[in-house]
Amino acid sequence: MRMTTSVVSVLLLAGAAAAADARLEALESIGKARAFLVQQSNDDGTFGKSKERFMPGIPALALYALALAPGERTADEKKVMERTAAFLLKNQQPNGAITIPGVLENYNTSVSAMALKATNDPRYAEALEKARKFILSCQMDEDLGYKKDEHYTYGGFGYGNSRRPDLSNTQFALEALKDLGMDEKSPEFQNALIFVRRCQDNVETNDIAFMKDGDSTGAFIYLPGDTDACSEFGMVKTRSGKELPRPYGNMTYAGVKCLIYCGLSKDTPELKKAWEWISENYNVKEQAGVPAGRGGEGYFYYVVAMAKAFTAAGQKEIETKGGKVNWAKDLAEHLSTLQAADGSFSNKTPRWMESDPILSTSYALIALNLAVKALE
């Protein structure tokens, strides 16, 4: 039936009409994913049965996905969202973090803050201000003894306030801080920009000596460095003959989003290069830039990063090797083929907890919500 719908639309309609059709299909997927999350909601505000369900970031991601969904919320959804928000608040620590103490504190707090903020409920303002302060404490800056010229990690956000930073934690922190009203004019965002630049394979704008051996692909790595600890996908040989951490899709979309949040415009050498890489490596079916056979790893994280980056750029279409494409249409169409009958999504590759249907359905729902917006 889906097949006939799309065949008919290709035959009879073109352009905008095809997008409209994709939109309807995406809305259908969204409805099913919402119903799945509601059905999986527990009385205590968590979702599902996995042992990770008590990490606030997981229910927070579900809440965020539900809050961003188009249209009205059902009475059931409202009830679920209310008790999930209460669960998050219950997990707020005296230092403002919304987390199980010591466990991925910045991730959990940033996602929880995004979720609570997305509900538009003024009751959470005080908790959100405390969370904002905690997130800022995770930034590697002078307060923690970091110096711009001495530490290539300067300006990045880490797991907690004494850990190494990385671009993944940084993208969640900046997303949350932006939602909480901060922007590129703040010194925190300007310092973050220093870090984000240093994660890009871009000889022109990356000031770290060993990154000068890169091929200037425009893609991003997990954190600056010349070891395999700086990419989740190992090392790659550059034209200079040196081995550098392999840049990959998740971090590239995260990097693009961060550069935009930090105020860089489209014509800067950083973003120009990054979009060149995205055009070359455009892929909605698996994570781009990773070694063959590993495109499934982190796929649902990838679709969120991708949708966020395109949304932040206000970019609906992009020129690729195969011609001009509409990312939202492509992504929504592919996601709907991955959805299970019960409305859930899950990743066959368990890395980064994506075999958990709560996590992957939430990610997919966020991406679908953004795609539907772009298809309006």
Partner: protein, 362 residues
Amino acid sequence: MRLSRWLATVCVLALGANVSALESRAVKTATDKAGNWLVDQYNAGTGTFGKAKHSKMPGFTALVVSALCESPRKYREGIGPFISEPVKQILRHQREDGAIALEGTGLDAYNTALCILALKSVENPAYGKAMEKAAKYLKKCQGKDGGYSYDHNAKQGGDLSQTWLSLEALEAAGIKKDSDEYKNAVKFIRRCQDHPETNPDLEGAGGPGSGGAFYKPGSSAAGNTTGRDGRTSPKPYGTMTAAMIESLLICEMKVDAPEIQAALRWFRENYSVKENPGAGAKGYFYYVLAFAKAMTAVGAREFELSDGRKVNWAVDLAEHLLSIQAKDGSFVNTEPQWMEDDPVLCTAYALKALTLCYQAMK
């Protein structure tokens, strides 16, 4: 969960293949937890780790620095102040004579050797001169018998533990292998082994001939044992036997040399990843470091015990360490001897050992 891990190990051994990706990833996660815990013990301002009295010693700081820098995360100074500041502290403590140590602790050679290893681990060419100068001092701690002692006054005489660390440091500082330091060290090391065939002190049958090694000629932390001829001789134990193996390999002895073969035979008889064989819980974490270093230096992944069992040392050791790692990522010994009641020390040793396990399992 433990069952599946055990099954995985059995399968791997049965196939004689490398350990599965999942298995080595679990070890990597454990190194991360240990590393993160150590980073959390960093004291901004003093550039040290932990709160113990001995935390002010530059060699102690150096041990943590090298554990973090060698770990799969490969930390370097640019990663943050928790590496760059301790390195500055290490350099600041270098004396005119090259030693990197606090005055009056009597542990100048240990401290200097550990500091050289830390400076090496950050891979910063700017520290070549400091390492050279430190190595010069370390050479002065070698006695006439070839053993290294606590400091250049050498009042206590040399011991195998100090000799092992010194040789590692001299090698790290780039001291050429044809220099006398290594040759002389071999003479000393031979005298620390229960191996009457090559140990002149035990000539005849002054020891049982187990092949194991002890702390220094005539002395062992594990007490005494009786030789074949009825003479009393020091009882060998794991740490020193492992230290001996790596030391001799640093001195360019071949694995098939009788000294090393005898030591490996001792491990076939006394193999343990759960205790320091011959000494029990005493010095367990120093043992795991020495053991992992020795096995890495020998280059054998699998190992046949005297009872015919085939073991994979890296998998066995990593499994046991994972089973005793605290939830927060740290390690500590129930037996306080040799400062092993300090979790910072034990976690640094364990992190180094886990890193070597991970590399052997990859």
